[in-house]
């Protein structure tokens, strides 16, 4: 069982969601985040004043999938979120030991 954490462009969230739904992955957490990768933001100019936009708006999508689906899920996310330009984002994969349903206290079995 893995937690897949993807940082993507804000406008790519719907595409990623659709791609994951095709894999029957519908549970996810989407969060507005700000940050930067290698590009370290960029310089914007407004009325002659330059200012550095260091933390760029991105979306974070978290899903938890069985080990058997990790590869497909990562592939779907990357294909949906890619533009080929700097700033397309990152995918992190983390191990998950156990998960529980809060309402029932029931332990999930994958």
């Amino acid at each position: 069982m893995k937690l897949i954490k993807s940082i993507v462009r804000p406008n790519k969230v719907d595409d990623v969601k659709n791609a994951l739904e095709k894999l029957h992955i519908s549970g996810m957490t989407v969060t507005e985040v700000r940050g930067h990768g290698k590009q370290k933001g960029h310089t914007a100019i407004y009325r002659g004043q330059e200012y550095n936009v260091s933390l760029l708006p991105k979306m974070e999508i978290e899903i938890v999938v069985p080990d058997s689906m990790v590869e497909d899920a990562i592939k779907a996310i990357i294909e949906a979120a890619r533009t080929g330009e700097i700033g397309d984002g990152r995918v992190f994969v983390l191990p998950v030991d156990e998960t529980y349903k809060i309402r029932t206290g029931e332990k999930d079995v994958f």
Binding site: R9, N11, K12, D14, A44, Y46, G48, V53
Partner: protein, 844 residues
Amino acid sequence: MNEPQSVSAEPRSGAVLSPKRRLAEARTELSLATERGEGGSQALKQYSYRMDAMVEQLFNEAPRASQSVGVWALGGYGRRELCLHSDIDLLVVFAGEIGPADERFLQGFLNPLWDLGLTVGHHIREVGESVGLDGDNAEFLLALVDARPIAGDASGLERFLENTDAVATATHTLEQLRALITERHARFNGTLFQLEPDVKEAPGGLRDLFGAMTIAKLTDPALLKQGGAGARALADAEDFLLRVRSTLHLQLGRQHNILGHELQERVAESLRYPGTTPRQRVERLMSDYFRHARAIDRSLRWALRAAPVPVGNNLVRGSDGVKFVDVRRAADRPDTWLAAFQAAIDCGCAVSDETLTWLEQHAERFDPMDFFQQPWHRDDLLRFLRPRPGLYERLSEMHDIGLLGQMFPEFRAINCRVVRDFYHKYTVDEHTLLAIRNLEQLTTPVPERRRLSGLLSELAQPELLVLALLFHDVGKWRDDDHVSESSRMAKRMFDTLGLDPEARATIEFLVEQHLSMSHVAFRRDTEDPEIVRHFAALVGDEERLKMLCLMTLADVEAVGRDTLTPWKEELLWGLYVDAYNHLTHAYGDEVIHRNETALAAVIDGRPADLDASDIEAFLEGLPRRYLQLFSRDAVYRHIRHARDLRPGAIEAWIERQGVGWELTVLTRDQPFLFSNISGVLSSFGADILRGYAFTKSDGLVVDMFHFIDQERFLELNESGDGQLLSVLENVVSGRVDLAERLRRREEGAFRQRMPGTPPVVRCDNESSRRYTIVEIFADNEIGLLYRMSRAMSESGCDVDLVLIATEGRRAIDVFHLTRNGTKLSPPQHSELIANLQGVLEGRP
């Protein structure tokens, strides 16, 4: 003003009495009543009615005036408290300028009054006199409070007063009254307990009573019932003092108001005071006098202390908020109601509960058109809607009592409307009002919102944004496409208000596109230049972009408390900056081509005198932005002038636009043309606020400058526009040396230069395919545009396109330049920037 009542004073035979006989009979009647000890309020009222009849007769018998004229009773006569030997104060109001026939009328009317031995105080006024009443003397202002029409045109005074500033006049009248009371009391050592009192002037006398009544009349008619000695005690005091005064006038046969020791016995006897000795009768009379004087004094002090403050025509601010002085006067004038809410915003308080309840009871009687009968009512509404603290609260009050819904039935359609969509947290009407509150909050900037507050402060007409917000969701009364329905409903409001075409287009755009910016910012890849280009094309110009950005922000923030996250705000701002830069830098590359839709639309709607070929020839090659900046009518007008343009000639005209003026110029390009035009405007003291300059590849130039006529040259000179255009022609043709014209003015400007923000000059060769872009950000001053553009021409540059904007004290000018038909090289950049910096720093 009270309506006149008339009494029949004619003999039963039907014969008309002479004025002399009328006066004599009136005096006899009052004298007899006074002798009976009954010369109080009732007798004086009757005497005043008889005097009215006599004045009306003299008015009718005077030679006819050449125009409408009315006569008004002022002061004590206006209150119908005319004593036997009181002065008669009259106001004569003419509809227009007084001519010889009117002077004959005045002589024929006033001379007989003097011949009758009356002491007449008269004031002559014309309705059109523009001098404010706040400059008038105190006595006249106070007398005017009790003005009452007697004869002739009864509407003249109202029209005369309409020309004055009601608040200033009422405030000034009250200030003058307070000063007069203080001064008068000082003459009596500040005490009412005078053993030989002046029943008119002394503290606690008639003047104090009328002072208290005047304060109440100007501020709150119920004031004297709410405190002081009370209305009943005042009425008794008034009647007593008038009976005493009438007796004094009768006893001495002249105007005399001092109740001296000797007269006290005669008055006590005349007023039938009981007592076996004169001393007993006098003691009882004077005891009554002091009791009444004390009541008046107490009420006057209460009135001075508790009177609300005048804040508008028929409006005052009391401890519970803004209210009408005379609700009966307001009842049939729904067009005046908005002023109560405007005054509340101006005063930073609420509209009083009592007034809100009253408005709620009366609002249903009226239709939208009743609130906006005249163009100035629309202007009042737009002024009211300017975002500032208090607007949300006042609009909410208006909505709560149903007034907003009566003014705009479209808004009533979303009253408490619930749309279950799981992200809106409030009803549709409250969401709308909260969106306006969000905008309002930007007027008191906090550091994290400074850039958005700046955008709001730069808007020329932020009230249109508020109006658009008010209507952006009215279509949600239906369950389907609310945007189209909101737009349709907004159009009905346009007709109610009689908005001008530009305002209609702006509001329509904002309502129809109010979801577009959030859609692009949150759901599209704004790093794709094509997405930004499309969005910028949709918006059209910077002003609309700013409005749409602020509307989106206010709208999203009003969905729920945490809906507008810093994350979303950053996305919106990023799109705004990209679109702004695209609009100001890249528009020169997007020109109108033959066969494109926008061109076809202009051709299809053309007037009969224009051929399709004229339109094609004119528009082809101009930036598309030209069509977004000018109305269709303006475009056709430009085409006509371009068609008629002779070689070497200039087609130019000046028109008033709002508080400013617009100069439009069509001509063929030549070196220094732009700097010459802007320089000529500066030489007449014009402050150029915004403008556009377009140069086509065939050399045709279309320039438009919007400016403020700071020295009122155009306003004060009937042929001022002709003179300016003549100088322009002479300068452009080289017959007049502009530098010489400007030298002295520029020297003055340099001397007066205030320390400000350092200027910024930025050169950009990347944003446009065809042009080098030079942006200048500097403190605005006379001649700045001239000097900058001249420096560019002197550096060998062609000024092809210009956007001129002024925001506060800051000039923001964007020039699109070429040199010999191409962009500038890096060394040419450096040279130009050095030259421009030198000009900005005032170096020769």
